[in-house]
Symmetry: C2
């Protein structure tokens, strides 16, 4: 069935994905005579750079995820639909959306901005044990794991078991891994320090592992080193050139063959690989556009699909040399796509090819420190970098109901060392444990079967 | 296995349940030479009177649920354990707790305070369709249902379908039902009014149904009438003497036989019946104590189990004539149990029998109105009652990290008409829908089988 479409005869723009790219594109078309349909699988825009704060109990879900409808309440040329797009028909200019029913939605121009999800480099079974950090559901799962580990440790009498439950491994030292490891260290070594009777949370080990030789590998080397030092100062064990080769129920393995080393860590969090949303592969097949190893599309200089000037692909779904997979490029690409659409509608000359303006990259370390690389050549660390981080992030809150309230609220919550959002229950722990146990049994059975196969008969 | 117990030789008090009763008992034993173990299936104390605000997106989970550990950080004679107690051995003075492992915990004195859960009056299959309102998980489910219904309605072209998705039925007009219905009406008629393009949320119907002739049946009649009027003023359709006899996938049935009336409501929320935690029945069996229709125990005048002066049962698990199932009695009972324990430890004369001091009952209607019955004979309504409600609730925040922050935060959030905590995703909707569909198919198959059985052969 077809959803009701206005019969205004206006140019129909369909935007898939309400992340940084999609939302900016919609905003930038505010005054245009177009009819926009924004489709997302959730009802909110996720401010992903702060997701690690939900995972560590600092902020609530609602604080980093305003409702998309609220953001576009006053922009009357947009309708927002909750649904999943599973098919794009570039020939017939329609997308198929699944919600309560399945709907076909026609477009004149399409903007695909469904981002990326985590990739376990061919080891999808690791996802059960080592949750990733992409959605609010992920963040809640990670929070439940981290806080649950302290609870279980409190009840253990065997010191080896207890230590394993008090060991947290974050795999991947990009911005998410760095920020998460820093927060877990703060949680263990400061916030929870006096909360337990049998364990001393300040003895918890927090490991940050990366296969490469640097934390924040895309940053200038001086900042990478500064970040690694700041993390160590917070009590994070930074292990570099440490490729994870296996993740199992009780912990993980670093390196292979003779070099392999096992780490007993009951909590493992995945912040290593990402892969583009499956729609990228689909668009690649139907347009012949190339796809890179991370599943990202090569698009034209105006961010459109080869042979389909009416289809824009932006954000983490595409690959442009030298452009990182962060919020800034997605925002700039969303604005650019809107600009191209505007010039077309006005029959003006199209803008020149998309050019990424590197405003900088930032990562917070612990409570009041950060590293920031600005405009590609200014490097700042420590508290000044944290201040810059705060200003930039708050300035980027698009369509927040009340920015001043947000500033007050965040400032308070972040600086007050409080962890109000710590809600977990035995139910979530038990279901996690059950899923992990089942997986482990399955793997054990497979290993036995493999060994039996390998027996000389 | 046995958890590590201190070997101080001190009197061991085990408290099961970190609700109002349990938490107050623990607090009141702060200066006693006892060794307290507080067991709860979640890691937080739930401020249940505000649960409806989480269900309607006003407050976040963390705002009404401080971590138990945080509350008792400084009370060194308490250890907090996350786990479920499934068995109490009153002969051997032990409880069995299930967490990561199963543990037996010995006690000298036991306080059982695990409260109540919802009862569907023998129709447990309704629970899939009509979620209750007891835990934070329940509240999140209700929120997902309410917000999801507007999303689905927005996509419907058939007006009958659309209207059914815009009809919300709350079953049970006690305080929870009244407060929830008021908030849904506010959400639909004010907060979301301009958020949609195809539907007009202000046309949504919010029904509050009760089998009896009154809302807030335990309140003085003048307040019941005032509350009903205030609700109608907010746009809630209050239907009294309307017993719900069936709840199915599309809606519910009121009355039976010739009188039966069907209401098409895609969202049904259960706020009608409660039944005591299963531990009550277990204690009844092992002590011979009587149990009422709602599964609540009859305990002695000092709140102990017959024949077991060392076992206290408090809060929603017990029945005392004239005492309602709300926070106040649980708090007073928790304090009383602690007092009995104190006098025993000091070898003093025990206090006289437990006497409930009726401080009053209150329910909020909409944004700034309430009804309050104080000390059993003063009745207040409107904004003055709301102010009293605010003061009493804030005064009752035990062990909150920072009460002033809480006041500022709540005041702002409640009065600012904002609904920040609106996060849902298609995943939660789809899984709800799937579960409901499966159930409906099951029921249809059963009906067919019944009809076939009934065919004259």
């Amino acid at each position: 069935m077809q959803t009701p479409t206005k019969t205004s005869g206006r140019h129909r723009v369909v935007v898939i994905g309400g992340g940084f790219g999609g939302v900016r594109a919609v905003k930038a078309l505010e005054r245009e005579p177009v009819e926009i349909t924004l489709i997302d699988r959730t009802n909110h825009h996720l401010f992903q750079p702060l997701l690690y704060q939900v995972a560590t109990g600092v902020l609530s879900a609602g604080q980093i995820a305003p409702a998309l409808r609220g953001m576009f309440r006053k922009q009357k040329n947009v309708r927002v639909l909750l649904g999943v797009v599973d098919e794009i028909d570039v020939e017939h200019h329609t997308v198929r959306m699944i919600a309560d029913e399945t709907t076909t939605i026609p477009y004149d121009t399409l903007i695909v901005a469904t981002g990326a999800t985590h990739s376990y480099f061919g080891h999808d079974e690791w996802s059960q044990i080592a949750p990733g950090m992409k959605s609010l559901d992920d963040a809640r799962r990670v929070r439940s794991r981290i806080l649950g580990a302290f609870e279980i440790a409190e009840q253990k009498t065997d010191p080896t078991e207890r230590d394993a439950w008090l060991t947290f491994a974050v795999v991947g030292a990009g911005p998410t891994g760095v920020e998460l490891a820093g927060q877990i260290a703060l949680l263990a070594h400061r916030v929870l320090r006096n909360d337990y009777r049998h364990i001393d949370p300040s003895t918890a080990r927090v490991l940050l592992l990366d296969a490469t030789a640097h934390v924040l590998g895309t940053y200038p080397e001086s900042l990478s080193e500064r970040a690694a030092n700041d993390l160590r100062h917070l009590g994070v064990e930074v292990e570099l050139s440490a490729p994870v080769t296996d993740i199992g129920l009780g912990g993980l393995t670093i390196g292979s063959a003779g070099d392999a080393r096992r780490i007993e860590a009951r909590t493992v969090i995945w912040a290593a690989g990402v892969t583009a949303s499956p729609l990228a592969a689909q668009l690649g097949r139907s347009s012949g556009a190339e796809i890179d190893r991370a599943g990202r599309l090569h698009v034209g200089p105006d961010l459109t699909l080869p042979g389909h000037p009416e289809v824009f692909v932006i954000g983490d779904m595409i690959t442009i040399p030298g452009v990182p997979g962060t919020a800034q490029p997605a925002i700039q690409e969303g604005k650019y796509a809107a600009k191209v659409i505007r010039t077309r509608l006005a029959d003006k000359a199209p803008p020149s090819a998309f050019h990424y303006l590197d405003l900088g990259s930032m990562a917070v370390i612990g409570r009041t420190r950060a590293v920031a690389s600005l405009f590609g050549h200014i490097n700042v660390g420590g508290f000044p970098a944290f201040l810059i981080w705060g200003i930039v992030h708050l300035a980027n809150l698009v369509g927040w109901g009340n920015r001043y309230e947000a500033i007050a609220r965040w400032g308070w919550t972040i600086l007050a060392r409080n962890r109000r959002e710590r809600v977990i229950s035995i139910v979530s722990l038990v279901s996690e444990q059950t899923a992990m146990n089942e997986l482990e049994q399955l793997r054990a059975a497979e290993t036995r079967a493999d060994e039996e196969d390998a027996q000389p008969s």
